[in-house]
Amino acid sequence: MTRLLEVDNLTLQFDTDEGRITAVEKMSYSLDASQVMGLVGESGSGKLVSAKSLMQLNARNAVYDPQTRIILHLDGGPVDVMTLKSAHDQKLVRGGAISMIFQEPMASFAPALTIGDQMVEQLRLHAEMSPARAREISIEMLDRVGISVPAKRFSQYAFELSGGMRQRAMIAMALSTRPKLLIADEPTTALDVTIQAQVLALMKDLVADFGMAIIFITHDLGVIAQTADTVAVMYLGRLVEQGPVRELIHNPAHPYTRGLLAALPNLHDLDSELVPVAGDIPSPLERPRGCVFHTRCPVARAGQCDRVVPPFTQLASGHRVSCHLASSEAVNT
């Protein structure tokens, strides 16, 4: 496997009227070419803004820590994403080597332009080609994602397509520039379960075909289990656990990951009780000291968890967890 992405010490804050809030703190991970990483966490965990950092897409009030490094290994050599300042340079990570698809496809298509116009514009922005060639590639891509009569859809508007078709069209547009990395932000959350199954099957197929890596942002662990190779769990801006998908689902090590799994309805056992994770996610203005999860953690140790940020403990190969109790027995009850 060749390394595609290295994120080191990603720390991201936002200046707001109520003060400077920390959205992501010292997040480090790496991703190989054609690897699918699931990024899980609840609202406010920083999963989306951390992914947007890779494309330098965060709002103007974003403040990155100077130690943040985001290195993208491309055919022409490594690129330090944090040094891309001009709009021209940023094209590389905005629709070039990195593309993004969203939960709500309506929001990623301009309502007054046809699907085709937007696809052609995107292609010609990133590569020199004639409008006729761009049209040809676009129609091929629409066909590839399973849209029937692609030449007709090409000249339609987003509102004329059904939800599932729109999602396919958005995937076609995102992949037309052959990105190395696709960021998928809850791409199936708004879809019905039968359509979700179709879109997930399509995405798996495309990964095999195009050999791109995916960062799959979702709160749905079922979707993760079905698509990801590796999973990263975030809580309140911190990466708390990361590991291969089987490891993480069968042997979750962080109390938060365990809590998430216990809160899920299990179709195999309708008698099992649903156990919520106690309490609510704290406001980012009142970030807990020490381990960010200690205010909701059922096994937190006073004096340690509320004071000291836990370092990462390596468990099995590729499986690491940031928890003080990881090396002791207490967490394994």
């Binding site: 609840e42 379960v193 039968t194 099957a201 079922g222 089987r246 689902i249 998430l260 309708l270 919520p276």
Partner: protein, 347 residues
């Protein structure tokens, strides 16, 4: 337990569309001749994809959608209403007995009112209390049942998280002491970690207050865990209806089977077993002839395109609307619900 609290008979909600200048006006058949009977004290699930008519049906039961045909009988033992014919006075009485919880706790609460005023409003609008003390008493009581602090009552909704807001919405819906509650996607907007908390709260309120719920959801695993009985809608028609365990252990309708198998399994080694349905739900302005599901059904044959199946009884309260269910039964492996590892069958 089996006396119905509310029963719909051949209930239809058809919305006329602005159509062509000539010819018949097109009609959206959102709900089409649906028969559902919700037993007293039950947690009754209604599932379906977007466009299946589940929300419209729930609203029609509350007289919040125009009823085109059919009737609705509400009978809680104290009063009996013929819901589709209620005059304005009885409608007020009905509203205090039948309430609704919405999906989006961010949109459902006025940002300019304190939590106390939000919860108290139904009492004041319906004139259920005479003095402010009485109102406060009722508000405090229901807030405590919904696990809200008294101190919360003085605050505004923006100070609360999604889960807390949903508890405020629940308190508001229950303050008039209704018997029947329609919960429309009540946990769909919540994070998984909070979802379980709200589901547990709804179940315990149901027991404590003797409520009957119509729980509308697109999420089958949530329904499996909370409901006693599940009805599956597709394009405004009932496809299958059964006690929850029975439906999940032995679904009979090809649509129910497809729905169940499309739920992403939590087991990474169980990949790619979804029984893929072709295409999407057709438009309710131009529904397919015969069985509404035939355009996507892997087992459809010629007569499914002509004949619309009626609901037939499988066993007990289990009903299915499929012309071929008997021949498909056993012939098609039931993929969706995998048996637990110890080999016991859920009953």
């Amino acid at each position: 337990m089996d006396t119905p609290l509310i029963a719909a008979r051949d209930l239809s909600v058809h919305y006329p569309l602005r159509g062509a200048l000539f010819g018949p006006r097109p009609v959206v058949r959102a709900v089409d001749a649906v028969n559902i009977s919700v037993p007293r004290g039950s947690f009754f699930g209604l599932v379906g994809e977007s466009g299946s008519g589940k929300t419209t049906f729930g609203r029609a039961l509350l007289r919040a959608a125009p009823i085109s045909a059919g009737d609705i009988i509400y009978d809680d033992g104290e009063v009996r209403y013929q819901v589709e014919r209620l005059g304005s006075r009885d409608l007020k009485g009905y509203r205090s007995r039948a309430q609704m919880i919405f999906q989006d706790p961010y949109a459902a609460l006025s940002p300019r009112m304190t939590v106390r005023d939000i919860i108290a409003e139904p009492l004041e609008v319906m004139g259920l209390t005479r003095t402010r003390e009485e109102t406060d008493e009722r508000v405090r009581d229901i807030a405590a049942r919904c696990r809200l602090n008294l101190e919360h009552l003085r605050r505004f909704p923006h100070a609360f998280s999604g889960g807390q807001r949903q508890r405020i919405s629940i308190a508001r819906a229950l303050v008039s002491r209704p018997r029947f509650v329609v919960a429309d996607e009540a946990v769909a907007a919540l994070d998984v970690s909070i979802q379980a908390d709200v589901l547990n709260l709804l179940r315990s309120l149901q027991q404590e207050m003797g409520l009957t719920f119509l729980f509308i959801s697109h999420d089958l695993s949530v329904v499996a865990h909370t409901c006693d009985h599940v009805t599956v809608l597709y394009l405004g028609r009932v496809m299958e209806s059964a006690p929850t365990r029975e439906l999940f252990a032995a679904p009979r309708h090809p649509y129910t089977r497809a729905l169940l198998s499309a739920i992403p399994s939590l087991d990474p080694d169980d990949r790619g077993n979804a029984q893929m349905l072709e295409g999407e739900i057709p438009s309710p302005t131009d529904p397919p002839s015969g069985c509404k599901f035939h355009t996507r059904c892997p087992h459809a044959e010629a007569r499914c395109r002509r004949e619309e199946p009626a609901l037939s009884q499988v066993a007990g309260a289990h009903e299915v609307a499929c012309l071929r269910w008997r021949e498909l039964d056993g012939a098609v492996p039931v993929a969706p619900v995998r048996q637990p590892a110890d080999g016991t069958t859920p009953t």
